[in-house]
Symmetry: C2
Subunit: 397 residues, 2 copies
Amino acid sequence: MELKSFIGLDEAIRKGMKYKPRYKSERVSVSAAVGRYSAEDVVSPSDFPRFDRSAMDGYALRSEDTISSSKTNPSIFRLKGKLFPSSSEALEVEKGEAVKIMTGSMIPNGTDSVVMLEDSSEKGNELRVYVPVRKFQNVSRRGEDIRKGFRILGRGELVEPPHVAALLECGIEEVNVLSISIGIFSTGDELVSGTVRNSTQPFIQAYFRKKGFETVGYGVVSDNEELIEKALNRVEEDLIIVTGGTGPGEMDLLPAVIERKGRFVFRGLRIRPGRTTSFGFYNRKPVFMVSGLPVAALIASENVILKLICEWYKLIQETKEFRTGILARSIVNTLGFRSFVRVKTEGSGELTRVIPTRVTGSGVIYSLIDADGILVIDENSEGIEEGETVRIEVLRW
Amino acid sequence: MELKSFIGLDEAIRKGMKYKPRYKSERVSVSAAVGRYSAEDVVSPSDFPRFDRSAMDGYALRSEDTISSSKTNPSIFRLKGKLFPSSSEALEVEKGEAVKIMTGSMIPNGTDSVVMLEDSSEKGNELRVYVPVRKFQNVSRRGEDIRKGFRILGRGELVEPPHVAALLECGIEEVNVLSISIGIFSTGDELVSGTVRNSTQPFIQAYFRKKGFETVGYGVVSDNEELIEKALNRVEEDLIIVTGGTGPGEMDLLPAVIERKGRFVFRGLRIRPGRTTSFGFYNRKPVFMVSGLPVAALIASENVILKLICEWYKLIQETKEFRTGILARSIVNTLGFRSFVRVKTEGSGELTRVIPTRVTGSGVIYSLIDADGILVIDENSEGIEEGETVRIEVLRW
């Protein structure tokens, strides 16, 4: 891997985007779909609510009969029956009549509003109403929530808890979600012998699992071309991630295997940390190679792998939150590299201070736990001076 | 349920806080702990890295031997062996000597820095170094990442992917996590008959599952005291949530059951939506009663149930993100009530517009899907005028 062959992140994404994966989907219950990506646009088959219904416990009546109502001069109504959400009878209500009604019940014919219990009093067959009621007051109108044809869920959208409510309300009990699976293994004699602990692989696996993908770990593999090839062949998932084994040093046998049975799309990126990040195909399956150092692996996962997966499968990425603050310590950038600096914020509002937790050291895990944001420094920048106002991306897991 | 007995949210939390639950924990693998709450403080048993190690592929040498190195006047070193992360041999390196070293390998005795491959060239047994190298350059110092005794994970903290990396690096493969389980059922003949679809229960279940709790759904129960009592007795989980059946109307039989075999801590809250939210104990088990309308149930779940669970079990709540913007439409508040208004933001920076998606209608699911924030209006406020700058809480699932 030659530094001069390294490419910029934007170019890497452009080059990587061209892949068109075949995708699988599966039909699951709406509840089981939470945390996964929809494989289809789901639209409401009908209006919701399906009818005008009461938004309160109270009395359904004609609003025009209450125009002059007041505490001292209540309107008087004749009570006629009771309506529950489970009622199916058709009640006809005339002028001067009211019907006791429970939240969620269908508004009876002839009425247009509901007066709350607190604003009325019942005595025998008589109802007194102490306030004027507006037309449609305390009434949820048919279709006011979700209109027939409204897109409840978009293709590629992450299913969240409120979708569960909306889909079920519309009578939709199952949805098609994308099945995207990732097989992950690590290379390195030092991992096999235990001199270095295999922490990056479970970390990256947890990261992608939390993002809604199925992940399978294939353990650690020695620095041996034959074994690496075997490991690549063993992965049954849609994508492969290999951690470790991409440094410019001589122990990096994975590239040789890739070059024999596949091809590289890019080898090495002008990003920091994560410069050894590479991507190619092996037996037509996408293979990402990331550093064995956890922070470098994370930066590559977030900015390269997740980004390309979202492009390929047309997943809608979460909107990122940003915060601005004053940089507490100058940061130097290597021209031509995009740096991802972990920062910790202190204070709030205009007094927010942005403190780089560690400028170098991609293995520094502590900085990940401590950090609450990422400051991205552009390729064209030589760095940012202490005291400058910067915009940071809020770190979310 | 009388409006005048309704209490404010802060008072409700104070009253509810007094409960001291017994808690269970279970020992799980670090990977399985992600998304759950730690039952213990976990501290690093040793320094990490455990030794000074190379942060790069390159050559270990004495920095003082490179002081005057330059492109035209390189320092010359005699090469002596190679070190891999899996090496365990003890190499002694003298003045003028260098050792080829791979990322992650232990720095050999006698050296204090590593020069990158790019800044040197190897020819036979000779190494040329073209730049001066600082002491400890490209070296990860022992303990620089995590010091012995550093608290990696705090009791009550949500386990996130980077904890996986940190714990495994420190050789910790299992942690104790809290087991907190919630049993949920719904009441209402209209749900049993299917006139109204049971969407709130699966929604709230998905909400609490995503927050790291085990949830079990017990389906729907008719408006019948005996059946409601049976349902309460059937729940084996630590906490009970009942959706529906808490309106001030006459079909609300759950309160009668609670009053017979338990007690209420509060009945009705001065919040909007969610004013029917109630809390008590049944057979000494906490029971939350929330509206059957999804938005009201959500506001209660987030601001009452989750808040009390966090207090009881001493869970560390996620830090909330806030955003400011200009209110696009006036909102009226009922004095004495705290309102939770769903809003949608448009634009960014100083031009951010905050648009209430729906001011009333707690059943309005669409507003949940569309909204990206919540604007909280205080009890003492009569409302907020269009054009005022407001701070909203970013909605996260």
